[in-house]
Symmetry: D2
Subunit: 349 residues, 4 copies
């Protein structure tokens, strides 16, 4: 941490900061410049709330040197986290990128869900997604089938062998969701619902954590840290678009650069959701490819057996034929990436 | 709702949309232009998820004509909502603007809290704020005193007569928070925690709903709608800054225009929090004044008996002397505004 | 400047940076922490491009300690800049806040312009604004009357005594605009048109510099610095709204906090344009008041004699009766502010 | 265009709008709903400034049905624009994606420039970039070599056969830049410098138009329209990052989705600049690949013979060995894309 004093700061002001730093276990080094004094605080104390120093007299600025997240950081954890499922599927590192597909929400028509799941299985996908509890911007929109939805997902798993991903919206529903799901999802709007993060952190269930629509990289990794702090290190990060400068052509701006950024600063797997990230069906294919070639550990997309009658997000859902057609090309790319990764891994040895 | 078809849409495409609209209870009127066909859907059906029409073949765009919120809307509810408390304090409409003051979080030192509360009372403030459960970006930061914090707030209320505002972060804590608080606060990061909104909507406790850091006006009013749908109409909106283009000089961009916007489109009271909205102590006074003169029903600010040792948000907290000095000038402005409002009210009669 | 080295940086990496700093005239002080080394570069060298240090091996981050602008900075220039015009009008510091009013663009109908100017004069405004060259997003929109527009403005000045503000869009038009205008305006889209800034800097004409729609405070003050570098210190900054999270209810987010920020970090006058800043007529009055009470040195607004037939920006233009009605209330507020400022000035003596 | 009237609009209000529409050549169709009246304006009149209707009494909203750009639009211009150079290089459509490489600015050391150009040629690049006039945020940063820089670029072209891309910042420099450059670049900060766009539109020189840092898709295509209106249809669009929610890890958010969006709504070529788009050297390779696989017609990147001593943008410049190493992998991807494109083209025949 670096504390920049105002030019007019008195010796007394400086010494108060030095003392406060020392009380918190730092070693303080003064750099007296021609114009102002800069105090470097040495010591690995991530838990200090840096803002508290702003309130000292004549402190101009407090600058972070180390990132405030620790368990989620690549530093001190060089190897990629790989999450393994009982059926052999693995997510993370140089494992083959995965595909998660399914409707936005699970609806009354179980047969429709099964059609989607069967198509997903047929195309080599590993996960079925579907919301039983739906976070909707308007209280008048469809809110989900709740437990019945979870049961449908489990039934579809039984018939296809796909693993089930579904969102949990509240602590009280967590035990129920945990019972049915293979992976629990935290939605973008709950990325900073800290109580929910902590609750999920106390389980051992793999978690997909979606980035909040205006979350910085640091805020995102600190949200992951909340889960990991509780003892659950099986966190899969998911980019799903951030609020951008244009919202006439897309719903969000899909931040593909987040993929290599996370790869550099964290060991956690990261996947990309181009359906929510763009809100436009025609953008799913190019953005899936872009995510994968940039290093994503997987992609997640919305598929519906009858998009025109979907209860939510019809505009961005692929129909089953569109989905199959597209996945053929995506699989070709995944094959190439997997081949290159394996080659690279072999060379390193 | 208006549905714009692509130039290449066939008669069949158009008729499918018309039929779907009619099935949902709309009357459809076709406007065939030289280039494309525009379908106007007549009928007051706010509950239809407009996105579903995007998934029809050759639909170019779906445009909303009416806002999707209803209970929160000024339309059909011309009179301002005024929330009255047992001690005679009123919030909203042309009532005298209120001041909410207190530390960011309630800390172990009860005496410090009491000093702040006493000063607030002395300066004519109506509410004491303080967090017992703290939403912190980092899991390593101070997380709040929990029930002990609520008890401290209640004790300070007893001694000063101030009403208590405190945040609820999770449904499970709601009964406990309700017991101690006069007003329950939903934090910005929980603005779209829909389960929590619904839970608060089932109580009769007044609620301060803070705007999410990237929430549009529509999203904000739909979040209020979630609470009101449950039967609780005592919602006080609170602007607390949105993510802006600059974050070196301020933490957020305080969107003062939201005040007159809300006044026009909703009947709910709106207050402004310049402490979180700017993150800078020196900006609290000018931004409080700006909020009030733009029509805010109140302001909310952070005051700490010892900002240098605050557990959170020290940088933006006022000390007690700074606070008193500033409130003198704010009170003068509130006096003028109150006078002008009463004059205007008399003239209208 | 502070340079943070990566934990893995070698002694050689560190010494290369130290040497490079010394070559550029800095004194380098090393702070070797437990995890990483932090180099403080002492010396007031604003002209060094800090990014160049990013390219050194194992440099993690380069942090600025001093702001890169100098002439525009309050440091070393404590007194407010006040710009005085030949007719006695003054802008800046604690001078009475000014009002600039007029149509978005000067149109063919000179009589309409004169009606607006006469009303502005009658209400005590000091400046007439109007565009002769119009920056329009679409090439199909009205582009301005050019020299004829400038002549109209000059004629209106002659008849009313108002000073004339008009925009210059290109260096080649500058001599012509300078001839007619009392204040030359640089539009938001040209805030980083550095050649134009330099050209205006070589004149002695007062300049209104509008903030770019996504410009940070630093970028804005550096744009002012470009003008001042050339020798022209008569720069009036103007906030006119930045791109925000909502664009359905307003065109831009008017950043009122910029006013007290500029007052703290710069000595230059700052005014606010609520017409462009919100794009909504009903928001002009509350936002004008908010700007003034937050300390703005003036406001600028669009008035048209016939808004329904305005060639540009009709939606946000006030009609003459609306304008007069509103200015009465604004003038009352300006009167109070002026009184308070004079009182404060007297006390300081 | 669709005009939504307020519920309280009188018949007279409605008829005034109808009349105004008819005066401007539209056919007006009224849709009287239960709550409000919606007027559909039929007619292909892109040149009407839609905002003018906002100023009519009791108009709630004006919604655009057709995009306001015409020449840049895919509608009525189905075939991709392909720009051909005298040496046989082609840009756009399904032509092989191009690579533009070179230093941020041309510096005094011609030999350094030549080293970069030689490496670029050797690796199969088609264009050499380099700034002779540099738009710098601070007036104290290096401003470019001006004509000498242009001469150096021309000399490097002579020796390598690469085509030259360089930025023009002002109309007055245009004749000089045109003389030396094969492609003239308009920088992001000048995207709405309409006079410059018009001037470039009057030449026949191919233009790279960079997206403004906060420009919407519509604003970007309208800027292209300005150039095309003048008669120059050789416009290459370039995405270079927009202001995003995070600016600690990257300089900008690179909006890869813009590539397929432009492909759908326009016939113009689009390339991507990951160097400015991210500001981080380690992100250039993954983001180049993402851009190319999403359909970009080319990429543009900064390479410097000695990044540690670059006059500008050292942090994001690749060294020559880094560049060569990376281009090998990029070329492999370009080869695959080119193969797939040719296959697809053959199938269509």
């Amino acid at each position: 941490m670096i504390i920049v004093m105002e030019p007019k700061a008195s010796e007394e002001d400086i010494q108060r900061v030095v003392k406060a730093l020392e009380n918190k276990g730092f070693r303080a080094i003064l750099n007296r410049g021609d114009v102002m004094c800069v105090i470097a605080a040495i010591g690995d104390k991530r838990c200090v709330d840096i803002n508290s120093f702003h309130s000292y007299n004549n402190v101009r600025d407090v600058k972070l040197v180390q990132e405030p997240y620790k368990l989620a950081s690549r530093e001190g954890h060089e190897n990629d986290t790989v999450i393994a499922f009982s059926n052999g599927v693995k997510v993370g590192g140089r494992e083959k990128p995965i595909i998660i597909a399914g409707p936005c929400s699970v609806e009354k028509d179980f047969d429709g869900l099964l059609q989607v799941a069967t198509a997903a299985k047929e195309m080599g996908c590993q996960f079925l997604r579907g919301g039983a509890f739906k976070p909707r911007t308007s209280p008048y929109d469809f809110q989900g089938l709740e437990e019945k939805g979870l049961q449908y997902l489990a039934m579809a798993r039984e018939k296809t062998g796909l693993l089930v991903v579904t969102e949990v919206m509240d602590i009280m529903e967590l035990p129920m969701v945990e019972e049915y799901a293979d992976v629990v999802q935290i939605g973008a709007r709950n990325m900073q619902n800290f109580k929910l993060l902590q609750a999920v952190g106390r389980t051992q269930k793999p978690v997909i954590l979606k980035r909040g629509p205006a979350a910085t990289v640091r805020e995102f990794l600190l949200a992951a840290e909340y889960i990991m702090c509780g003892g659950n290190e099986k966190v899969i990060l998911c980019e799903r678009g951030v609020k951008g400068v244009d919202n006439a052509y897309t719903r969000n701006t899909l931040d593909i650069a987040l993929v290599p950024i996370i790869k550099r600063f964290s060991h956690l797997p990261i996947i990309v959701d181009p359906s929510h990230g763009t809100g436009q069906r025609y953008l799913i294919e190019p953005m899936s490819k872009a995510a994968l070639i940039a290093g994503a550990n997987g992609i997640m997309m919305e598929v519906h057996h009858d998009p025109e009658h979907a209860s939510s997000d019809g505009a961005q859902s692929l129909s089953i034929p569109e989905f199959k057609d597209m996945i053929k090309r995506i699989n070709k790319l995944i094959g190439r990436i997997d081949y290159d990764n394996k080659l690279a891994a072999r060379k390193e040895k």
